[in-house]
């Protein structure tokens, strides 16, 4: 690049000149622009928007842009100028802030060209030791300009993590002040300071002292920029970087105010604050993405794709970076995992390209035919966003947009990814994740190069991403142009009013960005878009995009159609089961001989009951739901029959509200439990119902410690412990036996574990539903339960072992035949049905694959 064209007059000047020899307009910044420009933007939150609004605002401040109507071919280099302010501004900000704090900066500037890394380290070690290390590591592994990037990346990291918690925790206004009072605020200096270091290498390559010369008016420009949002903190300034900043703050500070006050949950609110502050990044990168005029999609795709280069290269050298990348996949979003994985491969080629892509870009700056090539892309570039705008307008599917952006930002960025795990508390992030499904499809369409070909495969999509990195940068450079014209028109406007742009694709920016907490990208945006001048070219893309959307909704329909429920099967099962059960019940024929199984645990229960003295105090716990009363009554009837024959004093209690009634019913209802009801036990004389013991485990423990305090009253509200059945009972161990009837392994465990310390030598028996067996049996094996009767089978076996004197058959025996036939039918149904389903599924799958081929 021997000559530089003056942005103002277009005359060519020697490269070493910093001002145009003809018109005096500044020249040099241009060349610095590219490297620094996209660094801050791609890397972190603020840089992105800073970049943007710098770009908006500095344009007027800086020399004349190209005049509208001038042929791009002639003005190719000057077209690039618009891009200056972005980097320049961030650079300046960085510098003056660092000047404001540490004079070391200027010295570092001189050092930098010689050895970037040491240059960065001295004052980085000053305030940000942690990224220094990363910087050094990076430097070792990267070529010339990469250390700078790394530094900035590192810097960004600290930006987000260090100061974030500060402003976020205080009212918005303070936060805004923090922003405006940059040199004063240490937190601010850290991140800002980190940026120039990152930028240094490039700066020093081309005239850095010039950069310092200008500092005063940058300072004020910087001030104006930060002051503006500070003063007007309202949703109307989305295009702004800083307003976003703030808009992010309310969400955090607001949500955290209660929290921030209290000391107890310090860890919580602290990390929340950090999260929130960090959120501002994805929040508004995406917001800009969807709201800002045509060029922004490309911006973003650029900025997202660009950082990939250093990160991935670093990824190999720096494990923690890599982990940073990994971090995206699992904790943040399972959904993003697939896309991320699929993206990694292309990204590695990407980093291969990016460095030379950089240099190549520098070379290209002045090459006209290159510009031509890019002009094509420029024509292509805006539409995607045009589509987006219309898209927001019609369908509130912004999240897709976000999704489209996120995968770019999120998995690829090294350092931000570290933060990303925090970010994901923003709705936006979630949405992005939630929508990642659709993203690949249409994002790929968004890429101008990709046009309208649609392939849903992730790898195809990622290959697109790969291309973007190389091809799209020019398009955003081009994209500056319309903005130029706008700004040129509004040049005279004061710094603040630059916020509100009247026309051009960027117009309406500010009405657009959702500001404020929880305003997720899912929000349907206000109808600002009607002030957009939609060219027929954009119209074309709108229609294209609608097509894309319509296509995109198809997989949704597909994913909706799950296995349809099969009524026929249900009816068949129901019919057969009912038939198989009813027949034996009605006919009463015995087709099954009595169970010969005599489980040892059942035998133990039997002998234990048999060994009880008469009038022995026995505690019976009714801990089952009415739903399982059928099974438990059948299972427990023989045992209870056997027990009542010994004439014990019963104490009934239950930890489920319905237990007491079930107990009463079990003791008295002749239909449901003829065996037991036949003993006709009398409340108050032979048994006491202590009713419902509230409080679950703690209630049980309370009861275990002091029964009379935990359950002072009977079911009908009279003091229980004076009644005859409870005479002389104080402790749990005073009972001769404890019998727990439960359908639920948990309540069984509770009784075993909570009473363990106070039960003494009192044996505990259990009658359990078959479903609880695996969890309860171990306690029998470990001796904590002395006997166990499990389900219908256990009851039947008990009935076989203990023949009631009245020779009545219990429910278990009556059910036994039906049980055997019913289960058999069910088994057959399961086997047949399962096989049928397997074959069916296999057939359909094969048919599908057949269609696929």
């Amino acid at each position: 690049m021997a000559d530089v064209l003056c942005p103002k007059c277009g005359e060519s000047n020697p490269a070493e000149l910093e001002n145009c020899q003809f018109c005096g307009a500044r020249l040099t910044p241009l060349s610095d622009s590219k490297p620094v420009d996209f660094q801050p933007i791609k890397v972190g939150v603020n840089p992105v928007k800073e970049g943007i609004n710098d770009f908006e605002k500095v344009i007027p401040a800086r020399g004349d842009p190209i005049y509208p109507g001038e042929a791009p071919t002639r003005k190719n280099t000057s077209e690039l100028e618009p891009t200056l302010p972005t980097w320049l501004h961030s650079l300046r900000k960085g510098q003056d802030s660092t000047e404001g704090t540490s004079a070391a900066d200027t010295s570092t500037d001189q050092d930098l060209p010689l050895s970037p890394v040491p240059a960065a380290s001295p004052d980085s070690s000053g305030d940000l030791p942690d990224w220094l290390s990363g910087l050094e590591k990076a430097a070792s592994s990267e070529e010339e300009e990469v250390p700078g990037w790394l530094a900035s990346l590192r810097g960004e990291k600290t930006v987000t993590s260090v100061p974030a918690s500060e402003p976020a925790s205080e009212p918005i206004s303070n936060a805004a002040d923090n922003l405006s009072a940059i040199p004063g605020d240490a937190d601010w200096v850290a991140p800002l300071g980190s940026e120039p270091e990152s930028a240094m290498p490039e700066i020093t390559l081309q005239g850095d002292q010039q950069g310092e010369g200008e500092s005063p008016d940058w300072l004020e420009s910087l001030k104006s920029e930060t002051a503006a949002p500070a003063t007007q903190e309202k949703p109307a300034s989305p295009g702004e970087g800083v307003p976003d900043w703030i808009s992010a703050l309310p969400s955090s500070s607001e949500e955290n105010q209660p929290a921030s006050g209290q000391a107890e949950n310090l860890p919580d609110w602290l990390d929340q604050l950090e999260e929130k502050a960090v959120d501002s990044k994805p929040a508004q990168t995406s917001d800009e993405g969807k709201t800002i005029g045509p060029d922004f999609p490309d911006w973003l795709t650029n900025f997202e794709s660009a950082p990939r280069t250093p990160d991935v290269t670093a990824g190999e050298s720096l494990p923690d970076w890599l982990s940073g990348l990994e971090a995206k996949t699992s904790p943040e979003s399972a959904a993003s995992a697939p896309t991320f994985n699929s993206e990694l491969p292309p990204s590695s080629p990407a980093h291969g390209e990016a460095p030379d892509w950089l240099s190549q870009f520098q070379a290209e700056v002045n090459a006209a035919q290159e510009q031509e090539a890019k002009k094509e892309q420029f024509e292509v570039a805006p539409p995607p966003s045009a589509q987006d705008i219309t898209k927001e307008k019609e369908t509130g599917m912004l999240p897709d947009w976000l999704a489209g952006i996120e995968p770019g930002t999120v998995p690829t960025e090294g350092t931000p990814a570290l933060i990303a795990s925090d970010e994901s508390t923003t709705p936006e992030e979630k949405d992005a994740a939630a929508f990642l499904m659709e993203m690949p499809d249409w994002l790929s369409k968004l890429k101008p190069e990709q046009g309208i070909e649609d392939d849903l495969e992730a790898d195809a999509e990622t290959s697109n991403l790969g291309n973007i990195e190389i091809s799209e940068l020019p398009s955003w450079v081009q994209a500056m142009r319309p903005v130029e014209s706008v700004v040129a028109g509004a040049r005279a406007a004061p710094p603040d009013s630059r916020v509100t742009e009247q026309m051009g694709p960027l117009a309406g920016l500010h009405g657009v960005l959702p500001v404020g907490p929880g305003l997720g990208p899912l929000r349907k945006p206000p109808a600002y878009t009607n002030i957009l001048q939609v060219t027929d070219g954009q119209q074309r893309y709108v229609s294209t995009f609608e097509r894309l959307i319509s296509r995109e909704t198809q997989p949704q329909a597909a994913s909706r159609t799950r296995l349809a429920s099969n009524r026929l099967w249900r009816w068949l099962i129901a019919g057969l089961l009912i038939l198989a059960i009813t027949l034996p019940l009605v006919t009463g024929i015995s087709i099954t001989q009595a169970s010969k199984l005599q489980p040892p645990e059942m035998i133990n229960a039997f002998t234990l009951i048999g060994s009880l003295p008469s009038n022995a105090p026995v505690l019976v716990v009714f801990d089952y739901e009415p739903a399982l009363s059928g099974e438990l009554e059948a299972a427990a009837a023989p045992l209870m029959d056997h027990l009542l024959l010994q004439g014990p004093r019963l104490t009934l209690i239950s930890t489920s509200p319905t237990g007491p009634v079930l107990a009463e019913r079990f003791l008295h209802d002749t239909d449901s439990s003829p065996l037991v009801a036949s003993h006709d036990y009398q409340a108050g004389q032979q048994y006491v119902d202590l009713g419902y013991l509230a409080g679950g485990p703690s209630g049980v423990q309370y009861f275990a410690i002091s029964p009379s305090e935990a359950a002072p009253f009977t079911l009908d509200g009279q003091p229980a412990w004076q009644l005859p059945p409870l005479q002389g009972l104080q402790k749990l161990s005073d009972f001769d036996a404890i019998i727990v009837l439960t359908d639920n392994a948990d309540s069984g465990r509770v009784w075993i574990e909570q009473t363990g310390s106070t039960i003494g030598n009192t044996p505990m028996l259990m009658v359990i539903s078959a479903q609880a067996e695996p969890m309860i049996l171990p306690y029998y094996n470990s001796g904590q339960i002395k006997g166990l009767v499990t389900g219908l089978a256990g009851g039947e076996a008990y009935g076989q072992t203990f023949v009631s004197p009245g020779a009545q058959t219990g429910l278990a025996q009556r059910y036994w035949n039906a049980f055997s036939t019913g289960t058999l039918v069910a088994e057959i149904l399961i086997v047949v049905g399962a096989l049928w389903n397997v074959v069916n599924g296999w057939r359909t799958r094969r048919r599908k694959s057949g269609e696929g081929i």
Partner: protein, 248 residues
């Protein structure tokens, strides 16, 4: 003896508490990676579809009373509900939360209200957080209409259920909508394993926070679980060796 047991218990809790805090700060620098749980991936997709087609999300929190150890699963469910409520905050209709315990119902209303406020939705319908019944089966039966009648396209059953969960999964199956189900109760898990397309097994329900929200503290909790897990395994193996040697 039981004093020592108590001390040991305290030790474990204290240890994990310190670990959680410490890790949650480390996590900020180097987040941890967790194994893929497809159920959560599908949940995200389902939630996305819910917002898109204006249908509703239904979260059922089970019936674990707060005063019982089963409360934890419900609390995990509530944390998930908050996230999902935020995610769907811009959807046409807020999610429905059904529960079988009064305290849970109140908490679900609080959660939904908080989410509605933070997402600046003026309208909050208290009927969105419902108590559908006070006994397990009445709760399940009461939740069935919510699944069927309210244009629900995605269901999340997370909390303390018993076998009655089969009624819910069956109702969902009849509607052929999405369901993500998990419980701390083993029997319920078995039923879910058989009847739900997206079962969450064992402690996976407690990982929901980390997988859907991934705040440092949540991912730290998972790491703490892993650490304790291996401690327990070590204890088991050592104990086994000692018993073999006859020491214990």
């Amino acid at each position: 003896m039981s004093i020592w047991l108590g001390l040991a218990g305290f030790g474990i809790v204290f240890f994990s508490a310190v670990l959680m805090v410490g890790l949650s700060y480390l996590r900020r620098k180097t987040p941890s990676v967790f194994r893929d749980i497809p159920a959560f991936t599908r949940l995200r997709q389902a939630v996305g579809l819910v917002v898109e087609d204006g249908s509703r999300l239904h979260v059922s929190l089970g019936r674990g009373a707060l005063t019982t150890p089963q409360s934890a699963s419900a609390l995990a469910g509530l944390a998930l509900l908050r996230r999902l409520a935020d995610l769907t905050s811009a959807g046409d209709r807020p999610p429905i939360a059904t529960s079988g315990d009064a305290t849970l119902a109140i908490l679900s209303q609080d959660t939904l209200q908080t989410s509605a406020k933070s997402s600046e939705q003026a309208v909050f319908d208290p009927a969105a957080g419902r108590l559908t019944g006070l006994t397990p089966f009445s709760y399940a039966a009461g939740a069935i209409p919510a699944i069927r009648d309210e244009n629900v396209s995605a269901n999340v059953l997370m909390g303390n259920f018993g076998v009655e969960v089969a009624l819910l999964t069956d109702a969902v199956e009849r509607e052929s909508t999405f369901v993500l189900a998990g419980s701390d109760d083993l029997t319920a898990q078995a039923v879910i394993y058989a009847s739900a397309p997206e079962p969450l097994i064992g402690e996976e329900i407690y990982a929901a926070g980390a997988y859907v929200e991934s705040s440092p503290l949540h991912s730290a909790s998972l790491t703490v679980q892993d650490i304790l897990r291996w401690l327990i395994i070590a204890a088991i193996l050592v104990g086994a060796l000692l018993t073999l040697a006859g020491v214990l």
